[in-house]
C-alpha cells in the first residue's frame, strides 16, 4: 500500500540535474549535510548551479567540493565563514553570493513547500537585506515581504528513512533538512539506515514521505566535525 521511492544510489538519485538549476542542500555547517549526493554532483560535473544552503561547507568538504570544481555560480546562504576558497571566489567576483537572514532562509524554504508564495517578517528591516523590498507595518512594527524559494532539487540527509520516503533525523542534524525537503520539486534523501515501511513509529516521523521523491542508503558518511570542543576528563 505504501509507495516505493528507493533509487539504487546517488548517481540515479541526481538524474535530471542540469546546468544552471537552483538546488537546495540541507545541513548546518557540516552537520546533517547530504555528503553522498554532493559527491555525486561533483562527479557528474553539472555547472552553473545556484545553491541554497545555510552554509557553504569548508575547504575540501561539503559544498566546498563543488566550489573547488567551480560548479557553483551563486550561493544563497546565511553564513559563509570558514572557507578560504569561497572567500577567494567571492572577493574576485567569480562567485555570486546572496546573504539572507537564517530564519528568513528557513521560512522561505518552508513557504515554498507549503504553497505560501510570500510572507512578512521583521528580520532585516532597516538593513541592506530590506533594499528594494516592500515594507509594511503590523502592530506598529515594520516588516518586509519575503518570497518563497523555488528549487528544482533539494538534497537532504536523514538518520533513518523508509522505502516510502518517511524520514527521521538525529539531534541537530535535522536543521534545514526538513524545510528543504518540503521545498524541492524533486527531493532526494540519503539516509544512514533504510528500513521497510511499517518499521518507523507513525507518530515520530519528522518529514512525511509525501515530500520525498527519491531515497537511498548512503554508502559512507564521514560526518566531519567542524569545531571539536570537549571537556577534559578528570
Amino acid at each position: 500500500m505504501a509507495l516505493n521511492k528507493v533509487v539504487n544510489g546517488p548517481e540515479q538519485a541526481i538524474e535530471g540535474i542540469e546546468n544552471d538549476m537552483h538546488i537546495m542542500f540541507g545541513g548546518f555547517g557540516l552537520c546533517g549535510i547530504p555528503e553522498n549526493s554532493i559527491a555525486a554532483i561533483r562527479d557528474h560535473g553539472v555547472k552553473g548551479l545556484t545553491c541554497i544552503s545555510n552554509n557553504a561547507g569548508v575547504d575540501g568538504f561539503g559544498l566546498g567540493l563543488l566550489l573547488e570544481t567551480r560548479q557553483v555560480k551563486k550561493m544563497i546562504s546565511s553564513y559563509v565563514g570558514e572557507n578560504d576558497e569561497f572567500e577567494r571566489q567571492m572577493l574576485s567576483g567569480e562567485l555570486e553570493v546572496d546573504l539572507i537572514p537564517q530564519g528568513t532562509l528557513a521560512e522561505r524554504c518552508r513557504a515554498a513547500g507549503a504553497g505560501i508564495p510570500a510572507f512578512f517578517t521583521p528580520a532585516g528591516y532597516g538593513t541592506e537585506v530590506a533594499e528594494g523590498k516592500e515594507v509594511r507595518e503590523f502592530n506598529g512594527k515594520p516588516h518586509i515581504l519575503e518570497h518563497a524559494f523555488g528549487a528544482s532539487f533539494a538534497f537532504v540527509k536523514a538518520q533513518v528513512g523508509d522505502t516510502a520516503g518517511n524520514l527521521v533525523f538525529n539531534a541537530t542534524a535535522r536543521n534545514f533538512n526538513h524545510a528543504m525537503a518540503m521545498a524541492g520539486r524533486i527531493t532526494v534523501a540519503e539516509v544512514e539506515e533504510l528500513v521497510p515501511v511499517g518499521e518507523l513509529d507513525p507518530n515520530s516521523i519528522h518529514t512525511p514521505g509525501i515530500f520525498v521523491q527519491r531515497i537511498y542508503k548512503g554508502e559512507v558518511f564521514e560526518k566531519r566535525i567542524e569545531q571539536r570542543t570537549v571537556r577534559k576528563r578528570d
Partner: protein, 218 residues
C-alpha cells in the same frame, strides 16, 4: 580595572531570571552559561535546532550530530528537544525566547547594532542575528567598549552595515553597563575601579550620567 571577557559574561548572567529561555550568540555571550546564578533555572536555545543545550561533551563523547550554532560539539540536558530550523526561528521571531545575548562590532545610542559585515574586508554573513535582533524583546549586547584600534564601539551612528535598528536594550562592556534610552546610552554601572571619565572618554555616542553611578558587584 576593566573586566575581561569572563567578567562581562558574569555581569550579564545577573540579568538571567528564573524560567528564562535564553539564546546566546557566539563569543563572549557563550561564556554566560558558565555563570548562571544559584537557585535559577534557565534553558538555552540554539538556533540550529535545540532547546536544553548543555556543556561541551567529555573527551571521546563528541557527536557530529549534536552541535550548537557556533558548530561546536555540545551535549543535551534532560528535557532537551530537537527541532528543525523553521521551528527554531518560529520561536525566535514569535518572541518565545526571553533573552538574547549577542556580540557586536558597533552599537548606536538609538539601539542600532552592526555585527555581520565589514565592507571590502569581511563578509561572513548575518546567520541568525538579523532574525534575533528584529524580534527579541530583550537584547543585551556583550562586547569590549573599544575596538583593537582603541576606537569607541558605542557610537552616535553605526558606520558599518546594520544588523538591526533600534533593537538593543542594554550593553555590557568591559567598562560599563548601559541602557539604551531615547536620550542615548544611560550609564548604569561602572566596572570595578573604572571612572565615569574613563567611560566618557571611551564612548563616542551620547552618554547620560544621572547622579552617582555605582560600581558593579560581581
Amino acid at each position: 580595572m576593566a573586566l575581561d571577557k569572563n567578567g562581562i559574561a558574569q555581569r550579564i548572567a545577573q540579568e538571567l531570571q528564573d524560567g528564562f529561555y535564553v539564546n546566546l550568540g557566539i563569543g563572549i555571550p557563550t561564556l554566560v552559561a558558565n555563570f548562571i546564578p544559584q537557585g535559577i533555572e534557565v534553558e538555552f536555545q540554539s538556533e540550529n535546532g535545540m532547546l536544553g543545550m548543555g556543556s561541551f561533551p567529555m573527551e571521546g563523547e563528541e557527536d557530529a550530530n549534536l552541535i550548537n550554532a557556533g558548530k561546536q560539539t555540545i551535549t543535551a540536558l534532560p528535557g532537551a528537544v530537537f527541532f528543525d530550523s523553521s521551528t527554531s526561528f518560529a520561536m525566535i521571531r514569535g518572541q518565545h525566547v526571553d533573552l538574547t545575548v549577542l556580540g557586536a562590532m558597533e552599537v548606536s545610542d538609538q539601539g542600532d547594532i552592526a555585527n555581520w559585515k565589514i565592507p571590502g574586508r569581511m563578509v561572513k554573513g548575518m546567520g541568525g542575528a538579523m532574525d534575533l535582533v528584529a524580534s527579541a524583546k530583550n537584547i543585551i549586547v556583550a562586547m569590549m567598549h573599544t575596538n583593537k584600534a582603541g576606537e569607541s564601539k558605542l557610537l552616535s551612528k553605526c558606520s558599518l552595515p546594520l544588523t538591526g535598528v533600534a533593537c538593543v536594550t542594554r550593553v555590557v562592556t568591559n567598562l560599563a553597563v548601559l541602557d539604551i534610552t531615547p536620550q542615548g546610552f544611560k550609564l548604569l554601572e561602572r566596572a570595578p575601579g573604572v571612572s565615569v571619565e574613563d567611560i566618557q572618554a571611551a564612548t563616542e555616542g551620547r552618554l547620560i550620567i544621572d547622579g552617582d553611578v555605582p560600581e558593579m558587584t560581581l
